[in-house]
């Protein structure tokens, strides 16, 4: 129950570590940690962006005279006097940037909220005053904002065509299927809005550049800034020990970082820049809107015979970013005949990017909503329908799942939730003025891994320091690394300190793809192994340890290790040092065979007012299986946060778009709705024990992006059970239900 004063500390189940409290918990609640923009630089000047008020056109004139005249304004940059940077490619094309459009690169406006000027001043108040005094005259052109906008081109690049999964003869099987579903779904634009704003601070010391910026991949930022400035990456240091939320938005370098560093070089002065909340909507990535068509065919006894998933995603004119979640949806259930395809719609928008479970969130929503529609068409219990079609192998390639505990999750969650009280007939349950509905859906997330390197330093006191430039974006990664090291070395966790988020340390993976525990954790395990070997296979304690140091004639024992995931070679480590996700691993590509996935089952109760149709969710229950759980307390928090986010995706979250103007409307935290406490009365989390010795030496699957996957479908399915109406476009809001008779 959320209402309890202290969150329950989960009892560790089988194959789970101790529920240690967070490594940095006390520091965080006492305000001690320094986030990127808190780190000090000598005498910094403040840079403030000025962004475009149109989505497409050209700057005819930009008048900075009134702003320049303000005391305290140091310099105003526009496309006419922009500092030079190298043009670099999108990270999917071998470059580093998340959007290849270069700010201040010329007079053209290619999307809403593009940087058109940078004011540098002695302080923030002066910078903002000056920003308001800049007058810009545009030549405006009609933008193509989204799906269906005039001029938005639909394309299917080769790289996407190659991702289409096929098996058997879909068309024939679908035509012959006795029971069919053919439905279209859509998901809206979403923005991460981490509480910690985006920021960059840059300072030069001769050739050397220091960058403070919240980042999910400091080695990428180091190399990316170097490449855009044409300097040696050796000369760039990035520091970012704590990240105040990221969810993918701080994953890949934006154009802001080299721009600020170039300004600092030009002005010979440290520069601090914070991106205002509304500016963050266009100066970072986001989850683009998607559309889906699902066609399912089944026999009358509930066996899937045909499945087709076609997806459409919006991207920018300049980059072909896509998430293509058909990879998961075509492998989810046993089905002999499968077709799939993803197309991109090019619009006048900034380039989208990772957002928590980038492919699975939209694509699994569509599949799981369609599965519920099929269960209803078959007059079958939705859980039983999934049981009938459960599989232990990929229906596309036949490759086995290393482990798959989906039905165990369903059974545990269904029992806790009280699924047997559900009436299959819609609108059958009421309490006073409220219509009540139950729904469920599957959650899944692939286990991805990247190479990682780590260093361990042991001193005669028995204290161990682990250094790895991985990242704790608020997930508990510090704690997990501490626990893995302590377990491996057989020491008290309090003897282990962990250093992360700084390029002074050996590179770890991007804090994305839910890879940190498996990948960075494997490197930490390996380096601890090496440390033990140096000391004869085990870490002695007390007096013996000191003697061991004396024998070796040193006061400090240091080890370094490089870990590569199964199937990846030395190139993976080289790529990591270059800040690239290459080497055959990574969040998206090159998933090694067999299939590795974490699974979950989520259940929701909804209540809908018979008159006004507000939708409230009094209860959510989720059961999850993710291999070895290093720390059940932090894992539970990930599941809890995931389901709460999922609730937001189901009912609240959407970046509203003025389609005529191609601009985001609700670019603030008052109107971009995320769930608040009042929306989340009760969430039950069940951790289903699972052993998987194939995924990696730790037996760990990625779980950070698992729980937010199934929630939206579970809630939308519950809304159908309550009202008899299928809402196929997220979020499900009351206006879409006002025509339901009740």
């Amino acid at each position: 129950m959320m209402a309890e004063a202290t969150p329950p500390v989960p009892e560790p189940g089988e194959n789970m570590g101790k529920p240690l409290p967070r490594y940095e918990a006390r520091a965080k609640v006492t305000g001690e940690p320094l986030y990127a923009d808190d780190l000090q630089l000598p005498n910094p000047a403040i840079a403030l962006f000025v962004t475009s008020g149109i989505a497409r056109g050209r700057i005819l004139q930009i008048d900075t005279a009134a702003a320049d005249a303000l005391p305290g304004v140091l310099k105003i940059y526009t496309h006419l006097n922009a500092p030079r940077r190298e043009v670099t490619k999108h990270y999917t094309e071998g470059g580093y940037v998340s959007d290849s459009a270069v700010p201040l690169g010329g007079p053209d406006i290619v999307n809403d909220g593009q940087i058109v000027a940078v004011v540098v001043a002695e302080d923030f108040a002066t910078a903002r005053d000056a920003a308001h005094r800049i007058a810009i005259r545009y030549e405006e052109r009609s933008p193509s904002a989204t799906f269906g906008s005039a001029g938005a081109a639909t394309i299917q690049p080769d790289a996407l065509a190659a991702k289409s999964k096929k098996a058997g003869d879909f068309a024939g099987a679908y035509a012959a299927a006795p029971v069919k579903i053919d439905a279209e779904y859509s998901t809206p634009t979403m923005h991460h809005n981490p509480i910690e704003l985006f920021s960059t601070a840059a300072a030069w010391n001769g050739e050397r550049l220091t960058v403070h910026e919240p980042s999910q991949f400091v080695w990428q930022l180091k190399n990316g800034v170097a490449s855009a400035l044409g300097i040696d990456p050796e000369n760039v240091e990035v520091r970012d020990p704590f990240v105040g939320g990221a969810f993918g938005s701080k994953g890949m370098m934006t154009q802001r970082s080299p721009l600020i560093a170039a300004i600092a070089r030009d002005l010979r002065r440290p520069i601090r820049n914070v991106v205002l909340r509304d500016q963050g909507f266009t100066l970072a990535t986001y989850r683009a809107e998607t559309r889906h068509r699902l066609q399912l065919g089944a026999t009358r006894d509930g066996k899937l015979t045909a499945l087709s998933h076609e997806g459409w995603e919006v991207t920018s004119r300049q980059d072909d970013y896509s998430v293509a979640g058909i990879e998961a949806t075509t492998e989810m259930y046993a089905c002999p005949n499968i077709a799939s395809k993803v197309s991109l719609v090019k619009a006048d928008r900034n380039t989208p990017g990772f957002m928590r479970s980038p492919p699975e969130t939209p694509y699994m929503y569509a599949l799981e909503a369609a599965m519920d529609e099929m269960a209803a068409a078959l007059a079958m219990d939705p859980v039983e329908f999934r049981r009938i079609n459960d599989t232990k192998v990929s229906p596309v390639t036949g490759a086995p799942y290393t482990s798959r505990s989906l039905m165990e999750c369903y059974d545990r969650a269904a029992a806790t939730f009280g699924w047997n009280r559900r009436k299959a007939e819609p609108m059958a349950t009421r309490e006073g003025d409220w219509l009540i509905g139950y729904g469920c859906a599957t959650a899944c997330y692939p286990t991805s891994m990247m190479a990682a390197t780590a260093r361990a330093i042991l001193t005669p006191s028995g204290r161990v320091e682990i250094q790895i430039a991985a990242h704790d974006v608020g997930t508990g990664a510090y704690t997990a690394m501490q626990q893995i090291a302590a377990r491996e070395l057989g020491v008290d966790p309090r003897m282990v300190s962990v250093r992360m988020g700084d390029t002074a340390y050996p590179p770890g993976p991007v804090a994305g793809g839910s890879m940190t525990t498996a990948s960075a954790g494997s490197a930490v395990k390996l380096v601890c192994d090496k440390l033990k070997q140096r000391l004869g296979g085990a870490l002695p304690s007390g007096r013996e340890l000191e003697q061991a140091f004396d024998r070796l004639g040193t006061r400090r024992i240091e080890e370094y290790a490089e870990w590569t995931p199964p199937g990846q070679g030395k190139e993976a480590v080289q790529a990591l040092y270059k800040g690239q996700m290459g080497g055959g691993g990574g969040a998206e590509g090159g998933k090694p065979k067999p299939l590795m996935y974490a699974f979950g089952a989520e259940f929701a109760e909804v209540r809908i007012h018979r008159l006004t149709r507000e939708i409230r969710v009094p209860r959510l229950t989720g059961a999850f299986a993710g291999g070895h759980i290093v720390n059940p307390r932090t894992a539970r928090s990930q599941y809890l946060g995931g389901m709460i986010w999922g609730l937001g995706q189901a009912l609240l979250e959407q970046t509203e778009l003025d389609e005529l103007r191609g601009r985001y409307i609700n670019d603030n935290l008052a109107e971009y709705l995320v769930a608040v406490n009042a929306d989340v009365p009760e969430v039950d989390i069940i951790m289903v024990p699972e052993v998987d010795s194939q995924v990696n030496p730790l037996g760990v699957k990625g779980i950070g992006e698992l729980a937010n996957v199934g929630t939206a479908a579970a809630i939308a399915n519950a809304v159908y059970n309550a009202t008899g109406k299928r809402i196929r476009d997220l979020p499900v809001t009351m206006d879409k239900l006002l025509d339901v008779p009740a």
Partner: protein, 337 residues
């Protein structure tokens, strides 16, 4: 934000003396009073408002400005009482539940602690085109420039009291209670005090949406009076996408006096759906003297919204506004006193 002068006078007469230079309207006056600043500072940071002088009124020592008290004329609410103070007042909650209901469901605890009731009724629209100066069209911000909301994203905009110049909704909650209970507004200007009906405070946009109220430039709201007796059978239904910390998609303040099943007196204020706090006079006229049934409530709601006009994204506000009113009437009827 542009530079400004800051003053913190000790009494209302001094405060008023610092304001009142000629201006086209109260909101565009060069001098602005600051209560909690939760509307004003936001709009200054966004460069929507740029007053040259701020007069902080939170330290005015005049008797009654910070207080809530009752006498035989009715309930007096000082304009400097915070939203939290009135909302947390147990006696008010019992005798005027609609006042508490409009307040505890508004904004967040932090904002309610800062915001004053005088500033509250003057909070300005959340229309995104008004709040972002990079949109060229907004008649409210820049008279004569047009209205971007007409063909823009207008899901939160008004359906009642709109004009071809402006469809911005009045976002607040407390005002619905005041208009329903026939409140008076007490004002102090350079020429001395005056009293107006709360119903006359806000002006329909018509062809001048930039003039939002009938206040004279530099006039200070000193308090509100709710005349007559108490309204224990009164409530506020606020319907919104998010369960808390969100503006109303539609809302209804209802105060009832019942004689068995028959309605002896009824007062209705509607929010979220209108350009100004909306007194539902047509609905009231139909309901007065009638039996309160769901059917009668629905008929009254139908009549009130007969003149509603929607745009592309806010059509739902017409059925939602009606349903909200019906729900509020039934909820007030069901209250156990």
């Amino acid at each position: 934000m542009r530079p400004f002068e800051y003053h913190a006078p000790q009494d209302a007469i001094s405060a008023v003396a610092m304001a009142g230079e000629p201006a086209p309207s109260h909101v565009t006056s060069l001098t602005q009073f600051v209560g909690g600043g939760t509307t004003l500072f936001d709009l200054m940071k966004l460069d929507v408002m740029h007053p040259a002088r701020l007069v902080d009124i939170t330290r005015l020592g005049d008797k009654g400005l910070q207080q809530v008290r009752r006498d035989d004329r009715g309930l007096h609410i000082g304009a400097l009482a915070t939203m939290a103070a009135l909302s947390d007042d147990g006696a008010i909650a019992k005798d005027y539940p609609v006042l508490r209901d409009t307040l505890w469901q508004a904004a967040s605890a932090q904002i309610r602690n800062m915001a004053r009731l005088g500033g509250n009724v003057l909070q300005r629209t959340r229309c995104p085109y008004f709040r972002d100066t990079s949109y060229r069209q907004c008649n409210k911000r820049d008279p004569g420039s047009g209205c971007a909301a007409l063909d823009g994203f207008n899901r939160m905009h008004a359906v009642l009291g709109t004009s071809t110049s402006c469809i911005a909704s009045y976002p607040g909650d407390f005002a619905q209670a005041l208009i329903a209970l026939d409140a008076h507004v007490e004002l102090l200007g350079a020429d001395g005090p005056r009293v107006i009906r709360f119903a006359d405070l806000h002006r329909l946009p018509e062809d001048a949406p930039q003039i939002e109220t009938s206040l004279r430039p530099g006039e200070l709201i000193t308090g509100f009076l709710i005349p007559g007796g108490t309204w224990p059978r009164s409530t506020y239904v606020k319907v919104r996408d998010r369960a808390s910390y969100a503006f109303a998609n539609a809302s209804a303040a209802v105060a009832l006096k019942l004689d068995g099943g028959r309605i002896e007196d009824v007062r209705i204020g509607l929010g979220g759906v209108a350009t100004v706090p909306w007194r539902a006079a047509r609905a009231e006229a139909l309901l007065k003297g009638a039996e309160l049934t769901e059917g009668a409530a629905a008929e009254a709601a139908e009549a009130e919204f007969a003149g509603a006009a929607a745009r592309e994204h806010n059509r739902y506000k017409i059925p939602l506004g009606k349903a909200t009113l019906v729900r509020a009437l039934l909820q007030a009827q069901a209250m156990e006193l």
